[in-house]
Amino acid sequence: MFRLNPKLSQKLSYALLFCATIFVIIPVVFILFIIIKNGASAITWEFLTSMPRNGMRSGGILPAILGTLSIVSCAICITLPIGVSAAIYLNEYAKDNLLTRIIKLAIVNLAGVPSVVYGLFGLGIFVMFFKLGVSIIAGALTLSIMELPVIITTARGALNSVPYSFREASMSLGVSRWQTIRYIVLPNALPGILTGAILSIARISGETAPILFTAAAFYVPHLPGSIFDQVMALPYHLFIISTQIPNMPKNIIFGTALVLLMLVLSMSLIAIIARLYFRKRRKW
């Protein structure tokens, strides 16, 4: 039987694997290139700071930007304290018993629920059952439950990376358990927790399906006033103008996509840089 020489076989395989890697990378480069090339010309001060006009075919996207910012900031304010507390429980208090295993399984499953199912859930519980209506707060609550497993997992990783000896040293000085967590563990885990939070903000800024029936509106002629208002949101706005409105000028769609992309990617970039910075400064 014909057999390839191992050296040659290695070379061929490496080349194949390299091609596969390029295939994985190319879409990112391609998407960034297309959006930036076609969208850059639409970005003007007026586009970012004025209301849409003429059935959204001209004018700006200010209400969509503010809508997304308000939903996302509400959501992170809800999910961060709960998620970090849950992580503290799992990492510092929980014993290895059945309850803990069920909690972990629940977190894994919460992370796997499709975003549109969160939308359904938010509609059923927050919009209808609690009668919050389609509003910023209903959307933020929906997003906060969706993001909870991510926050818990990253916060747990950050808490876990604080060396055990720190806790022992503190406890041996007679400091109580909570004080140890509050003054020793949390400050040391803070960079990791914050990086995770920023990445979460990036992720939920781009989510569309969960806010589809809980917060987002096709068009609102004024800026968001209270958390019980229905708002426009950037990702939903992009969906609407690229699929529902005929004869939409292309550069406005690309411009909207570029603003959304920049918002999400700049957040991610800040998180990545922060992570590198803190890793370098870490003393242990």
Binding site: P6, K7, S9, Q10, S13, L17, F18, A20, T21, F23, V24, I25, P27, V28, V29, F30, I31, I34, S85, A86, Y89, Y93, I103, L105, I107, N109, G112, V113, P114, S115, V116, V117, G119, L120, G124, M128, I145, L148, I152, S176, R177, W178, Q179, I181, A202, G206, T208, A209, L212, F213, P235, L238, F239, S242, T243, K250, A257, L261, L265, S268
Partner: protein
């Protein structure tokens, strides 16, 4: 005083800890509550095996078979592309690429994961869709195949990152042993590393598939949304997720159609629950 604060804080973090269970139970309960009322009226068997989804005709038809087939077709298509590519890329990044290159490649993969699905859907609409229509000479470029292609790109970051972790956690001693016996680096990677990392890779693939099944916006924008059982992958399909997203806005709250969509959400929840459970089993195995 200190003791009181300690026990109060312990209770608070405990409550937050079990909230995850509460939320999973609430989601399950809410979907089931709305879905159950629908199942009682329409019948589970009729719902799952019905071939026609005409929710607004008179009398309405709520057969989700075309939607299940649509989701399945798009998911299988995406997996066929994304799994081999993703695993090969993970092997390259973790075992072959020089260290400097590795970090750059990894940040690109992370970047892909960060791009919102509407943006991917939109770029797909203006680029891939016309290309598919012209290359295969079709009446429309909005097909199951187009959806599979875009979803493959979206599943690859998940598959690559998690597989890479699994490959990197293979003990050094395994590789040293193989190399010492005179195996080339590629032989070591293929016969030893790949095998040892297999449970983790399977978990990565399951999580990638879970992401594809649940993906909504990009799918809704590029698969054409025709609720019919397709004859080939070059026909438009409609997935379960896209159906919920597209129709919920137009339903009467509390009506039959509204409940049917909750029932559909329930089916979707059960499917992803199983997929994630299997993934979790395998990732537990890989940690041992």
């Amino acid at each position: 005083m200190r003791k009181i604060i300690d026990s109060v804080m312990e209770t608070i973090v405990f409550i937050c800890g079990i909230l995850s269970i509460v939320f999973v139970a609430l989601i399950f309960g809410f979907l089931l509550k709305e879905g159950f009322a629908f199942f009682k009226e329409f019948g589970v068997i009729n719902f799952i095996t019905g071939r026609f989804w005409y929710p607004v005709s008179n009398p309405p038809q709520f057969g989700i078979l075309p939607l299940i087939v649509g989701s399945l077709l798009v998911t299988v298509g995406a997996a066929v592309i994304a799994v081999p590519m993703g695993v090969m890329a993970a092997l390259y990044i973790s075992e072959i690429a020089p260290k400097g290159v590795r970090d750059i490649l990894k940040s690109f993969v992370e970047l892909m994961a960060a791009i919102p699905s509407v943006v991917i859907g939109f770029v797909g609409m203006v680029t891939i869709v016309p290309i598919i229509r012209m290359t295969f000479n079709l009446p429309t470029g909005l097909t199951a195949f187009t959806g599979s292609l875009m979803l493959a790109f979206m599943a690859m970051p998940t598959i690559v990152t998690i597989s890479e972790d699994a490959i990197r956690s293979v003990p050094w001693a395994y590789k040293e042993g193989a190399l010492a016996l005179g195996a080339t680096r590629w032989q070591t990677v293929r016969r030893i590393v790949l095998k040892a990392a297999m449970p983790g890779i399977v978990a990565a693939v399951m999580l990638g598939i879970g992401r594809v099944i649940g993906e909504t916006m990009a799918v809704m924008m590029i698969t054409g949304n025709a609720a019919q059982i397709p004859h080939s992958i070059f026909e438009p399909v409609r997935t379960m997720t896209a159906t919920i997203a597209a129709e919920m806005g137009e339903t009467v709250r509390g009506g039959m159609h509204y409940r049917a969509l909750f029932a559909l959400g329930f089916v979707l929840f059960v499917i992803t629950f199983i997929v994630n459970f299997v993934a979790d089993l395998f990732s537990g195995k890989s940690k041992k």
